[in-house]
Amino acid sequence: MVDQPLLRVENLFKYFPVSHSIIRGLIGKQAKVVHAVDNVGFTLKMGEILALVGESGSGKTTVGMNVLGLQVPTRGKVIFDGIDVAYWCQGRIGDSDYSDKNGLAKLSSRKQVLLLRRRAQMIFQDPYESLNPRQKIFDIVAEPLDIHGLSQSESDRKDKVRDALEICGLAPADHFWDRYPDGLSGGQRQRVVIAGALVLEPELLIADEPVSMLDVSIRAELLNLLMEIRNKRNISILYTTHDLATAGYFTDRMAVMYLGRIVELGPTREVLSNPRHPYTKSLVSVLPAPNPRRQRERVILSGEVPNPIDLPTGCRFHPRCPVSRDDCQKIDPDFVQVTAEHKAACLFVQ
């Protein structure tokens, strides 16, 4: 169990059909698809924090959705604790090739799905929109307990809510739990969102841009909170963001995505200090340095991420790549190992 990763994503593909005209269909043209995620693979160990970094449209959120079973992969697998999430999220563990040591397949479909939801939780981006304005803080955090039937008694229910709120820095809890979300600041709201996820004691948290809506002055404390939760409870966290700098602070490993594919993956510090893919290099170079004396040499890419319907031939980054050569238009590069833990998908990594 120790060596086995908690989460394994294997050759994950997720395509979305583009609505196309009847005429195109009649003349036999293939329906077009959006290549949202195109052959992505990674693992996440127990207690590890992995950053999934990329611009809008890179597919990082889609990966998160597939990991949680909110979407079903077009191809490939997401294995969470040994079980294929595509079956699990539909309550059909019995149909997967899982050996079923624990007898999970005998549970009803609904129970199977609930179990997945309890073990893998999500934190959304916008704490102003993800809390019900008409529910008190206590009820927001207690609701998951009720749905999962996890509280033995009223006092147990209270204790669990108190624990969750206080771990998230809202202490003393009874000072907060009678309030409504509009009585809280943005940072406090996001703490409530995290408490609502933690109350179920999940093993995996997907945090989708959890601090991007907050003021810079309070981002640090939420990132420190996530790190603390990991340290105390050994939870694995998948942190999706477009901000390399915040990811640099508290994640163990980093996967950089471009147009639906991971282009570089490695230990966070190593990727940031020694980026090997030209895309990562450029992303690192444009990070603002908070000092006018140390402005970096910037490699600003022109244009934007191309649309994921008609992908470029060869390396999908070549049209914007500052160092692309002729081969890049023809060959779709495989990963090259830079070190045992660090790999980049570029023909010219060496």
Binding site: D215, S217, L222, L272, P292, R293
Partner: protein, 321 residues
């Protein structure tokens, strides 16, 4: 020569109960032609209110309580509305917060810029207006043919560029940009920052940048005004602010900003939340969150003092002498 000077500006908002809440108190700054100023601070510190007051476009509840805005030797607060209309957009133009969503969705980008040109009598005929629009679009890095398209056919970064083109349409002397890079992807942020830098140099623009992003300010601004709770906390050149800041708030704000060249430094938030306008601390506005707070900080408000050449600070550590 001074291009723009704000003197002792105070602005309040009236609540529904007719109580005046001070959003901005006694703010002063000065800009020479071609210089750039960054106004930074957390949400609610009054940075946008300063700009809206300066342009005289405060919402209905807003009142200018005191102060002057001197632009080329004229006090903007004394001008008639008709005269002010000429100053707005003609002399001082603005890229609003969320500008990429403030283009009219049912009209082409070109027609919106043409309208601004004709209304401000920059050109006489529609034909000239179109020609000028093409030049403007080219200047901000949009192919002129795309002027015929609608905003929804543009990406977020391009809409931001189109709005900047519109803001430049009347050859303003001062450009104000309110959070121009917020909500954009990192690479697009870098592109817009680069564009503003280039335009400022080429057109010798005087630039005011309102933002909470200290990285953009470090790259673009000569001077920095740090606001807290509606008052100036510290005001100095960028080099001083980033390398020799004295105010505890400025120093902590800098520490909260992630810097990948220095990942081993602790990233420390400022505990607590900025003060609410209806519940401002009696003493120093920052005292409830300040780790160096003394009893007199909670009692008395610090004066803004000049430490050395053009380095202003409002903190008892420096003003109680």
């Amino acid at each position: 020569m001074t291009m723009l000077e704000v003197k002792n500006l105070s602005v309040s908002y009236l609540t529904d109960e007719q109580v005046a809440l001070n959003a901005v108190e006694n703010v002063s700054f000065r800009l020479e032609p071609g210089r750039s100023l960054g106004i930074v601070g957390e949400s609610g510190c009054g940075k946008t209110t300063i700009i809206l007051a300066l342009m005289r476009i405060l919402p209905e509840a807003g009142r200018i309580v005191d102060g002057q805005v001197i632009f080329e030797n004229r006090d903007l607060f004394q001008l008639s509305e008709a005269e002010m209309c000429k100053v707005r957009w003609g002399d001082i133009s603005m890229v609003f917060q969320g500008a990429m969503n403030s283009l009219n969705p049912v009209r082409t980008v070109e027609s919106q810029i043409v309208e601004a040109l004709l209304r401000h009598k920059q050109v006489d005929t529609k034909r000239q207006a179109r020609k000028r629009t093409a030049e403007l679009l080219k200047k901000v890095g949009i192919a002129p043919e795309r002027g015929k398209q609608y905003p929804h056919q543009y990406s977020g970064g391009m809409r931001q560029r189109a709005f900047i083109a519109m803001a430049l349409s009347c050859n303003p002397k001062v450009l104000i940009a309110d959070e121009p890079t917020t909500a954009l992807d990192v690479m697009i942020q870098a592109q817009i920052t680069q564009l503003l830098k280039k335009l400022q140099r080429e057109l010798n623009l005087t630039l005011i940048l309102v933002t909470h992003d200290l990285g953009v300010v470090a790259e673009l601004c000569d001077d920095v005004l740090v606001m807290y709770g509606g008052k100036v906390a510290e005001y100095a050149t960028s080099d001083t602010i980033y390398n020799a800041a004295k105010h505890p708030y400025t120093r902590r704000l800098l520490k909260a900003f992630p810097d990948i060249d220095n990942l081993d430094a602790d990233l420390v938030s400022i505990p607590g939340v900025p003060p609410r306008l209806d519940d401002l601390p009696i003493g120093c506005r920052f005292s409830p969150r300040c780790n160096l707070c003394k009893d007199y900080c909670m009692r008395d408000q610090p004066r803004l003092v000049e430490l050395e050449d053009s380095h202003y600070i409002a903190c008892h550590m420096y003003s109680r002498k």
